[in-house]
């Protein structure tokens, strides 16, 4: 999946995460994460974002995420929605997001 423009999904509400994905010239995902539960779940959130992008085949992107205590399923859903929007794609693969 090619990131063509800036795509955003999510809100700043409690228990949500807002994910912003932007195009990047070079290979790799550059992730900036802010979280209300950084100490307890920071690594976990980063892992879910990277895995979700990996599953979508996104390999080049700047990602900025501000988390307000979202569960993994929310993190995955918001990341995926932001990626689709950034790729200007609507070929959604509807599936149950694992918890």
């Amino acid at each position: 999946m090619d990131i063509k423009k800036t795509g955003v999904a999510g809100t700043m509400e409690s228990s949500d995460i807002i994910v912003r994905i932007e195009p990047k010239e070079t290979e790799g995902i550059e992730l900036e994460l802010e979280s209300a539960v950084m100490q307890q779940y920071g690594k976990q959130i980063e892992r879910v974002i990277r895995e979700t992008l990996g599953e979508l085949g996104v390999t080049r992107a700047y990602v900025n995420a501000v988390d307000k205590g979202a569960l993994d399923c929310t993190v995955a859903a918001r990341t995926s929605a932001a990626a689709y929007r950034a790729a200007e794609s609507s070929d959604y693969v509807w599936k149950e997001v694992r918890i």
């Binding site: 100490q39 307890q40 918890i99």
Partner: protein
Amino acid sequence: MFDFDSIPHIKEVSACHGAYKEENIAEKNLTSFDERQQTSKKVLPSLEEAIKRVGLKDGMTISFHHHFRNGDYVINMVMDVIAKMGFKHLTLAASSLTDCHWPLIDHIKNGVIDHIETSGLRGKLGDAVSHGLMDFPVIFRSHGGRAAAIETGELHIDVAFLGAPSCDPYGNANGYNRDSEEGSCCGSLGYAKLDALYADKCIIITDHLVSFPNTPFGIPESQVDYVVKVDNIGDPNGIMSGATRYTKNPKELLIAQYATNAIVASGYFKDNFSMQMGSGGASLAVARYLREKMVEQDIKCRFALGGITGQIVQMHEEGLVKKILDVQSFDLIAANSVKNNRFHQQIDASYYASYVNKGAAVNQLDFVILSALEVDTDFNVNVMTGSDGVIRGAVGGHPDTAAGASMTIVVCPLLRGRIPTICSKVNTICTPGKTVDVVVTDQGIAVNPARPELYERFVAAGLPVTTIEKLRDRAERIAGTPEPIQYTDKIVGVLMYRDNSVIDVIRQVKD
């Protein structure tokens, strides 16, 4: 005429100061009562003057109460004057501290305060202490533990600085004002009463000087050395919210419904029962649901104890709660009720919860509803440190009421945001699991295995009973297992159980 020395056994009579001498009689004051009270020697023009007169010295222990909650001006005002006067190395023993007391940070840094004793810390001050602000760890005591420490003289208060919404020129002080509707109002002065009784010197700080006698009073003039009038003792909006609102949060309502059903099924819900409820959203909702059950089944409550809310007052005025014992009024309705209702009784902290006096009301409780930041699988409760390990709470009467009540119910959501409330080990033990009987969450009720009869009654009543381990597993399955908080070795806080033994410590958090 008599010869003093010839009176048989007179030398053995105690409290006999020799023969009467006319010159020992003080000159009578011939002015009128009103002139006299205008010139009362107890009323001093400034805090500075009062501090000089009580003879404050470096290293002494000073005390404050927390009835003005987050609207309090007294602590910061007094500490600023004390700092300006150049005093150092004081111990500040407050009944509790809250967000608005962050200016204490500077006084700690400047060596004015070396040591703090309190029930709780919040906001910037709690944060700073958790990050290693003080060398001497903060001593956290429950309301009952503090009362006991004061009564036994182990916590000796040199000077108590007690704010009061009304006071007369002789020091009769109260948490409300019967002479006018103006000014601030905090209801019960329960925590201040004990400090006034036991402190060597007691200064009342008021913004409402009324004519003698300021009856009824929470603190009598016989315990007061000086009175200082200031412009404002606090922000009325911070001292009191108008009425505590009902929660609309569906999770809290569900918890409240489960808790109410648990009470009804417990065997303790019968005529003349006794209770204490907290002021959290779920606790307040329990009061509302329990009221319906009381009306339905024609059951009355003999007394409600503790921090009192408008909900309890409403039940009292409807005749559902016969008597109220109030150590702290949580909202304006409760404060006004202390003023207006004959059987809404103001009680002091010792009467409320001390373990060393001759009788404390917590021991007469059928059940208490308490909140929790965390509960672990041993039923230990943390109400002190947040999920990041930072101090942001207060012990309050939690361990006292848990120990006293026949059934202690802790209400909490399974998760707060992403943070599990039910966990394997709490960050900080405030109330030991041995005294906690029931944990009610939005996803089920866990009963302490020490109370099998409660478990059976709840099952028979069709309540969603599970085990504390299953609740923890469910929380971790949804949220994931959190990584442990990183602490340094430095101890920044010491948690005293209500018998003033150390139950846990709080360490400095790593940045």
